[in-house]
C-alpha cells in the first residue's frame, strides 16, 4: 500500500480524515433562469442523488478511539427517531472490523467535529454517508495497521484487523493501545471497500443502538438537559400571525412568586424565574392586547393557492401534452385536488438552553440544523460564528419542524439579558400557533385517453407556496429568482413518472401570509395524493384494474425507475393477494411514488364503519436500492403508514382572523392506537446503492386510502383529510 508523504500530528487520540462532500446548495445555484434550464434543474432536483450537505470548508469527520477500545463516531447528522445512528454504526463497524456493540454514536457539536451544513432532512442521511463513513473507517483501520507495522517492525501485509484488535504472528494490540501509543500518523490512500458479498452488517437487521436508553428513560433530550445555575424562561407570544404588542402591563407578573426578571425588549417579552412553574404562572398574569395586522381567513388561503394564480414554472415537458389537452377539451378528463395546511406536532416541543457570556455562547438545542442555529444566534448576538458552540442532544421528533425557526435565538437573548444560563421551551399552544406549517396545495390534472384506453396526454398543474427556499436558506431571493419556483421541495414529485408520450407539469408559485415550511415527504405528499388519485380515477373510467393500468404505463425497458416501479407493483399485487376475491364490505386501493429513486407502493383495504373510514390492512412494498438495516427500514415504513393515515383521515390546520384556529391536540386529532391496521412490509433491493427511507414510504398512503374509498363507494374524495360527507 502506498501512503501519502504528508504526516499529520493528531491531538490525543483523535483521527481526522478527508470527508469533503459536495455542498448541497451549489448544485442548485449554478443553473441559469431560462425555462429549459429550469426544467432541467427540476428534473435534476427530482432525480438527484442528494449530496450529504456537508461543507467542504470543514472537511473533518471525527472518530475517536476511547480507552476501553470502543470507538466514538461524532455524527454530523441528527438522530430524531429515524434510526440513522444505528445505520452509521453498522457502516463504521463494517470497515473498522469491530463488533457493532463497540461503536458509540453521538452528535458532533459545532466545536467537536463535522456538522451538517444545511440540515438533516430529505431522507438523505444514511444514503449520502454510505460511502464516506465506510471510506473514513477503512482509512482509519489502515492507519492503525500502518502504526502497528512500524511499532512492531513487520510488513503491513502480515497484520490482521479483527474485533478491534490488530495481530501479526504472536503479536496483538488493541486499537485503543495502538492509538494511545502513536504520536505521528501516516494517512494512507483510501483502501478499496469491502464487496457486498463480504458484508457482516450491511443488509442484515441490527437492533437500534439507542434502544436501551430510550426504554430505560435515561435518553437525554434538550428538555432533560441542564447547565449549572440555570434559570427558566417562558416567552409571551402573540397567538395571532404577525401580531404585535398594543398594550402591555407586567406589574402583576413582576410580583409573582419566584420571578427574577421580566424582559420586555421590543416584541420580546419573557418571564425569567427560578422554576418553570414560577415563570409559567407569572407569564399568565401579564395583561396584554395585540395589534392584529394579519386578517387572513381560510378562504383567502384557498383562493391564493389556486392554479392560475402566481408564477408558473414549467417543470416537465415531453411531447405535446399542452396542445393535445387544449385542442381536445371535450374529451379531456379533468379533476382538481386539494391538500390542507398541517402542523408537525412532534412530541418534544421546541426547546433550547442558552448560556451567553461576554464574547461567547453555548446553545443546547434539539435541532435538525445546528449550523443554522449557530449562524442565527451569532447574528442575533453580534458574535463571531466560531464563538457559538451548539450542542444537540437526542431530538424528540422533527418531521421538518426543527429544520427552521425554533426558540434558540430568544433563549440566547434572554440569557444575555439575565447573564445566566436559561432554559426556554414552547407550550403546546405555541407549537400550534407560533409554528411554521405545511402549506395547502391545489392540483389540476387533465388527461386525454386514446381509443385503446391508454393515456395519450396528461398534464399536472400544482399551486403551492414555496416550502423551503425562503425558510431554510434564510430567504435566499437570488436562488429563488434563478429557479423561478421552489420545485426542489414544493414541486418535488409533481412530474408524471409514467411512460406516457405526452406529459407536462407546471408549478404555480404563490406567497401566502402564513409562515410555511417543510413537513415530512415535503412536495411528494400532496403531489402523490393528487396524481395517484387521478390515476385511480382514470383506471376506473377506462375499466382497468388500477395495478395493470399502471404497469401498462411502465413499459420503457430503458427507464430503470419504470422497471423498478413495475417490479414493486407486481410484488404488491402478489403480497396483497390483489387478484383474490374481496369481501363486499371492503374497498381496496393502491398508489405508488418515486421519491428520489426510492420506489414505494401501498395496497390498502378499508371499511366504512358507522360512517367512518377505517383502514383495515396495509400492504407496503418499497424498493430501497441497497438496504442497510432492514428492521430499521421496517420501522420507518410503519411510521410512515401511521403518519399517512393520520394526514389522510384526521389532520387539518385552518386559519381564521389571522390566527391558527387549532391550539390543542383535542382540536387537531392525530392517529392513535385505535387507527392501527394490519400491516405487512416488504423491502426490495433493486439497486446496489442505498436510497432514502424516512419519507418515501409516506406518500402512497393517502391516495391508496382514497382509491379504496373510490372502489367501495364509487365516490372520489379529492380533498384531504378524506371525509365521507
Amino acid at each position: 500500500m502506498s501512503t501519502d508523504t504528508n504526516k499529520k500530528a493528531f491531538s490525543r487520540r483523535k483521527f481526522l480524515q478527508r470527508g469533503a462532500i459536495v455542498l448541497g446548495g451549489s448544485v442548485v445555484a449554478s443553473y441559469l433562469g431560462c425555462s429549459p434550464m429550469r426544467r432541467f434543474t427540476a428534473q435534476k432536483a427530482e432525480n438527484m442523488d442528494l449530496p450529504a450537505s456537508i461543507s467542504s470548508f470543514q472537511p473533518d469527520f471525527w472518530f475517536e478511539v476511547l480507552a476501553d477500545n470502543t470507538i466514538l463516531l461524532k455524527s454530523p447528522k441528527i438522530e430524531m427517531g429515524q434510526g440513522i445512528w444505528t445505520g452509521f454504526a453498522m457502516l463504521a463497524a463494517e470497515e473498522l472490523e469491530v463488533p457493532i456493540e463497540q461503536i458509540k454514536v453521538e452528535h458532533a457539536s459545532t466545536s467537536s467535529g463535522l456538522i451538517d451544513n444545511i440540515n438533516t432532512g430529505g431522507s438523505t442521511s444514511t444514503a449520502s454517508l454510505y460511502e464516506p463513513i465506510r471510506e473514513v473507517a477503512a482509512t482509519m483501520r489502515e492507519m492503525l495497521k500502518v502504526a502497528a507495522s512500524k511499532q512492531w517492525g513487520v510488513a503491513i501485509g502480515t497484520i490482521k484487523a479483527e474485533n478491534g484488535v490488530l495481530s501479526s504472528g504472536n503479536k496483538k494490540i488493541t486499537y485503543a493501545e495502538i492509538a494511545s501509543s502513536t504520536k505521528e500518523w501516516d494517512i494512507p490512500k483510501t483502501p478499496a471497500l469491502k464487496p457486498k458479498s463480504a458484508f457482516k452488517y450491511v443488509g442484515k437487521s441490527v437492533k437500534r443502538i439507542d434502544l436501551k436508553p430510550k426504554v430505560m428513560g435515561t435518553a437525554k433530550y434538550t428538555m432533560d438537559s441542564e447547565l449549572p445555575d440555570m434559570l427558566y424562561a417562558v416567552l409571551l407570544q402573540s397567538p395571532y400571525i404577525d401580531g404585535t404588542i398594543k398594550t402591555i402591563d407586567t406589574s402583576e407578573a413582576a410580583k409573582s412568586s419566584g420571578v427574577i426578571k421580566i424582559i420586555h425588549e421590543g416584541e420580546l417579552v419573557a418571564v425569567v424565574a427560578k422554576t418553570f412553574y414560577a415563570a409559567d404562572s407569572a407569564v399568565k398574569k401579564i395583561n396584554v392586547s395585540w395589534n392584529t395586522p394579519n386578517k387572513t381567513q381560510q378562504a383567502d388561503l384557498i383562493k391564493l393557492v389556486t392554479v392560475g394564480n402566481g408564477k408558473e414554472v414549467n417543470v416537465q415537458k415531453e411531447g405535446k401534452a399542452r396542445s393535445i389537452i387544449e385542442d381536445n377539451q371535450a374529451e379531456v378528463f379533468k379533476q382538481e385536488y386539494r391538500t390542507p395546511m398541517a402542523t408537525h406536532a412532534q412530541m418534544e416541543v421546541n426547546a433550547a438552553i442558552a448560556h451567553v457570556e461576554a464574547d461567547k455562547a453555548t446553545i443546547i438545542v434539539g435541532t435538525q440544523g445546528p449550523s443554522q442555529v449557530r449562524d442565527m444566534v451569532a447574528k442575533a448576538l453580534k458574535l463571531k460564528k466560531d464563538n457559538i458552540d451548539v450542542h444537540t442532544p437526542l431530538v424528540g421528533g422533527g418531521f421538518g419542524r426543527k429544520a427552521t425557526k425554533g426558540n434558540f435565538v430568544e433563549a440566547a437573548l434572554i440569557s444575555k439579558a439575565v447573564g445566566k444560563p436559561v432554559k426556554l421551551f414552547n407550550s403546546r399552544q405555541q407549537e400550534f400557533q407560533n409554528g411554521v406549517y405545511r402549506p395547502n396545495t391545489h392540483h389540476v390534472l387533465q388527461a386525454k385517453i386514446d381509443k385503446n384506453g391508454q393515456i395519450e396526454a396528461i398534464t399536472h398543474d400544482q399551486a403551492t407556496p414555496d416550502m423551503i427556499l425562503k425558510t431554510l436558506l434564510n430567504g435566499n431571493d437570488i436562488v429563488l429568482k434563478l429557479l423561478g419556483s421552489d420545485f426542489i421541495s414544493a414541486g418535488h414529485g409533481a412530474s408524471i413518472m409514467y411512460n406516457v408520450p405526452n406529459k407536462a407539469t407546471s408549478v404555480w408559485n404563490t406567497d401566502v401570509p402564513v409562515p410555511i415550511s417543510i413537513w415530512r415527504a415535503v412536495g411528494m405528499f400532496p403531489n402523490t395524493f393528487a396524481i395517484e388519485s387521478f390515476i385511480n380515477e382514470l383506471a376506473k373510467k377506462v375499466g382497468k384494474d388500477p395495478i395493470t393500468f399502471r404497469t401498462d404505463m411502465l413499459h420503457d425497458k430503458e427507464d430503470k425507475i419504470a422497471q423498478r416501479s413495475k417490479k414493486v407493483l407486481e410484488t404488491l399485487a402478489e403480497k396483497s393477494a390483489w387478484k383474490n376475491q374481496k369481501t363486499e364490505s371492503v374497498g381496496r386501493g393502491i398508489a405508488i411514488a418515486n421519491d428520489r429513486k426510492t420506489i414505494a407502493a401501498a395496497a390498502i383495504e378499508i371499511e366504512i364503519l358507522e360512517d367512518k373510514i377505517k383502514v383495515k390492512k396495509v400492504t407496503h412494498v418499497m424498493d430501497v436500492g441497497q438496504s442497510i438495516n432492514p428492521e430499521g427500514i421496517k420501522q420507518q415504513v410503519e411510521s410512515a403508514i401511521m403518519m399517512g393515515i393520520s394526514a389522510a383521515l384526521h389532520e387539518e390546520l385552518t386559519v381564521k382572523d389571522g390566527q391558527i384556529e387549532q391550539g390543542f391536540f383535542s382540536q387537531y386529532p392525530l392517529a392513535m392506537l385505535t387507527d392501527v391496521p394490519e400491516i405487512q412490509v416488504f423491502i426490495l433491493e433493486g439497486d446496489d446503492i442505498p436510497y432514502g427511507v424516512g419519507e418515501p414510504p409516506l406518500s402512497p398512503i393517502a391516495p391508496a386510502i382514497a382509491g379504496a374509498i373510490l372502489d367501495l363507494t364509487g365516490k372520489a374524495l379529492r380533498s384531504l383529510p378524506l371525509r365521507l360527507s
Binding site: G217, Y277, G398, M672, V676
Partner: protein, 162 residues
C-alpha cells in the same frame, strides 16, 4: 408547603407551591427526567406515571395531591435487584419494548410504558381492542403497531413469571 411522599420506593420530602404540577416536581425538583412534558393539558400522556398504582397524567395533578402517597416513574419501574451481569431485572413492559424494538424518537415512550404497565396489571391477557381502547397516549413517530405487539408480549412475560 412541605409535602412528604415516596417516589420509586424512596421517602422524599419537598417544599413547593402546593399547586405546582407533579410533572415539574418530578422533573425539575427531583431530576427524574424520564417523565416527559408533551402538552401540559393531560391530552397526550407523555407525562404518565403511577400514583398509588393508578396511571395518571402528572402535568395536570397538583403537588399536594401526592402527600402521603407512593409514586412510581419509569426510572423505578424495573426492580432494582441486580442480576449477575449487573443489569436491572427488567419490568416485562421494558423487556417487551426491547424485544419488539418499539421506540423511534423515544420521547413519548415513557408515558406509553407507564400506561401499558398499568394496563397489563389490571388485564393480564389484553386483546388488541383492549389495548387500542385502553391507552389514549399520542405518538407522532408512529410506533403504535409495535406498542400493541409489545404490550401483548409483556403480558405473556408477566404471566410466565412465578
Amino acid at each position: 408547603m412541605k409535602i412528604d411522599f415516596k417516589i420509586n420506593g424512596k421517602p422524599t420530602s419537598i417544599d413547593v407551591d402546593p399547586n405546582m404540577p407533579l410533572l415539574w416536581v418530578v422533573r425539575d425538583e427531583l431530576k427524574l427526567t424520564a417523565t416527559k412534558f408533551g402538552c401540559g393539558q393531560a391530552m397526550c400522556g407523555a407525562c404518565t406515571l403511577h400514583v398509588d398504582g393508578e396511571a395518571l397524567r402528572s402535568c395536570s395533578i397538583p403537588a399536594e395531591f401526592v402527600a402521603g402517597k407512593e409514586i412510581t416513574t419509569l426510572e423505578g419501574l424495573s426492580k432494582s435487584k441486580e442480576t449477575t451481569d449487573g443489569d436491572l431485572q427488567l419490568h416485562p413492559i421494558q423487556q417487551a419494548w426491547m424485544e419488539e424494538q418499539v421506540p423511534q424518537c423515544g420521547y413519548c415512550q415513557s408515558g406509553f410504558m407507564m400506561a401499558a404497565a398499568k394496563l397489563i396489571k389490571d388485564n393480564p391477557n389484553p386483546s388488541d381492542d383492549d389495548i387500542k381502547n385502553g391507552i389514549t397516549n399520542i405518538c407522532r413517530c408512529g410506533t403504535h403497531p409495535r406498542i400493541i405487539k409489545a404490550i401483548k408480549r409483556a403480558a405473556e412475560l408477566q404471566n410466565q413469571k412465578p
